[in-house]
Symmetry: C2
Subunit: 392 residues, 2 copies
């Protein structure tokens, strides 16, 4: 078996995104023990920085030892007990998955289903809250990675509190790419993943839990069905002056997360959000010029993940394969019933750059000219350039 | 926040062990997508090599996306359904944890408890199998990381089959350090962790499941309570010509695991096992000369993790702190009721070297001379040297 030599990919799919060389370097740092003071200091640093990213003062702000789906599972299994009713907004793959996980906890998932790509209107949630009996939690996906829809969260908090329901939010494809204001929006539990807008390799799920949710967890009637994700135990490991051993943390991943959080702090969140916004507008202008239409309605399009319908005259699978093989560019296809119909193009973290936008559009134009679906060379680049010149 | 500079530690605790520079280098390899052909090839390589390590032909041989405890949880939650009776050997922390996880699945844990450090005799299991009603599984810890006890597994398989119970084995601190013969011993589900004898950073749990166990999983009455660890779904991602997206794999960790498996193959398993055996004997000779007594009985002492009682005249916490602060050597203290009474010294993977054995013994002698519990300088080194000279 030979040494593995990774092809050099431009990662513009739904994640992972490209990783800064400093973060890769951090991954290669030699190990210390998971109870070593030097490592506990890394954990402290990660917690401090994650709180800023989530805009929260929550003490229980940690990185779950698993990928984004582990964060999702941790968020749900700690809150939901058998028999609990939970309202879940279902407008894509990840809302669907959340409802499944609620049911695997023995919870009753009350699905609010809207067409994929649409958002869940606050009225729908309010109505369900009014008509259902006691509801333990409302679960929403802030950034639906399967459709590119940007779900408003802020209007939901007051109605959840009025009905004594917790608000759980999936911020996998938003955190560090657009504002996630946990405290101001009244989110009780929020989780994300490292491999999207944080531009750290996959393997950790940032998670924050406020005291309201923590008291719900601490007063469960039944133990959490997962031992690995049991926050009442994990919290003791992440609490300074306690550090009770629970499981061995993925040490190198935490080194990497610390470094990616340092890079994010150097850029500053406002500049970072503005960068994501501008690059997504430029790419969208180019895609529109090429005949691709965005799936979500105009005010609800994520800047971190663009989901566009592929015109029927374009063989989407063949073009994606060419992008990967000829240009080393990865973009994503559709999931579920959008398979074969849409592309999902991520501009997340390190991947959200002007150079990457232009590189992708140029490659698409080149393939389009060869295949006859682009007739005016430079049309997409021009549209992007025009956005950039207006944007600065 | 400054760049993180890791202190250079000699990791001789219960894990993580030291990592080969080639594995650290692999961690820093740039990312490709989790559905990229280049990455799927990495997964194939990992599967092929893990099968050799587990001595199995099991198709479902994978790395679970979490640390060793995630492997434990995956093994249990996929097999155990509410109401299932499961016999668990409890002779340390990890058997205790396994029983807890069985109960969190709604299973009935039938504990066979023996004093910590002892092994579970086959007769005890046979008796429980005979006296209990139908038993879904027997769960045993091959290498108890909390006590250093080496549990025989081979005699258990026939009796499990006779009673139609699955045999689940925790090989966290044994795999790649001593023989784990999944097929020959008739183990149905076996899991491990990367940060012990594989000398890869923590973050993955190798797991293998035979067809007998897989058919039990596929014919469950209830869905697996964990979505993240649901092997009926994960298997589809790890199966060639299928590769259905389940969750984003921790890509860099799989790069690292592939490289560590390559290094293991270069050394060869017999040479690797002999190395672990020799170094543990040399260290034990030195520790005995210093007055430390091993916790497990003579025939059941792990070569990968030595658990010794600390003489009462030695302040164990102070000495461990000195080892770490003055010598940059990490060893482990006791867990549970062994806290403050024992040391756990790991000689796993890259950490199991003659140089490390001598370095640790020399440091202990130096501290012991200063504190008056060593009177003859070189006594431990001499004992180790004598073992080495006889061992070759």
């Amino acid at each position: 078996m030979e040494e593995f030599c990774a092809p050099r990919r431009l990662l513009l799919g739904p994640g992972p995104s490209n990783v800064h060389p400093r973060v890769l370097q951090a991954m290669a740092t030699s190990l210390v023990g998971h109870l070593d003071q030097a490592f506990l200091a890394v954990m402290n640093d990660v917690q401090t920085r994650l709180r800023r990213l989530f805009s929260t003062a929550n003490r229980l702000t940690i990185a779950v030892s698993g990928t984004g789906s582990a964060g999702m599972e941790a968020a749900v299994v700690n809150i939901v007990e058998p028999g609990d009713a939970v309202i879940v907004g279902v407008n894509g793959v990840f809302g669907t998955r959340l409802a499944t996980i609620v049911e695997r906890c023995g919870g009753k998932a009350i699905r609010i289903e809207v067409p994929w790509g649409q958002i869940i209107e606050p009225d729908l949630i309010e109505e369900k809250l009014r008509r259902s009996g006691p509801v333990k939690a409302v679960v929403l996906v802030h950034a639906e990675t399967s459709t590119g829809a940007w779900q408003p969260i802020e209007p939901m908090s007051a109605m959840c509190r009025a009905h004594d329901a917790l608000l759980i939010v999936d911020a996998v494809t938003s955190l560090a790419g657009l504002p996630v204001e946990v405290d101001r929006w009244g989110i009780d539990v929020c989780y994300s993943a490292t491999q999207k807008c944080l531009s750290c390799p996959p393997g950790l799920a940032p998670l924050t839990v406020n005291d309201r949710a923590l008291s719900v967890i601490r007063s469960r009637r039944t133990p959490c069905q997962s031992w690995y994700f049991d926050l009442s135990l994990i919290a003791d490991y992440w609490t300074e002056h306690n550090r009770a051993y629970h499981h061995t943390a993925p040490i190198s991943m935490l080194y990497a997360l610390r470094e990616s959080l340092r890079i994010i702090a150097e850029e500053g969140l406002p500049a970072r959000f503005a960068r994501h916004h501008l690059n997504s507008r430029a790419l969208m202008a180019g895609l529109l010029a090429l005949g691709f239409d965005p799936v979500p309605p105009v005010d609800y399009r994520l800047p971190t993940l663009l989901c566009v319908t592929v015109p029927t005259l374009i063989d989407e699978g063949a073009v994606r394969a060419q992008l990967l093989e000829r240009f080393d560019i990865e973009i994503g296809g559709g999931l579920g019933h959008l398979k074969g119909k849409v592309w999902r193009i991520g501009l997340m973290g390190e991947s959200s750059t002007e150079a990457n936008v232009l590189t992708l559009l140029n490659a698409l134009e080149e393939i389009g000219i060869q295949n006859g679906w682009v007739t005016i060379p430079g049309i997409a680049l021009q549209a992007a350039a025009s956005t950039y010149s207006r944007g600065r």
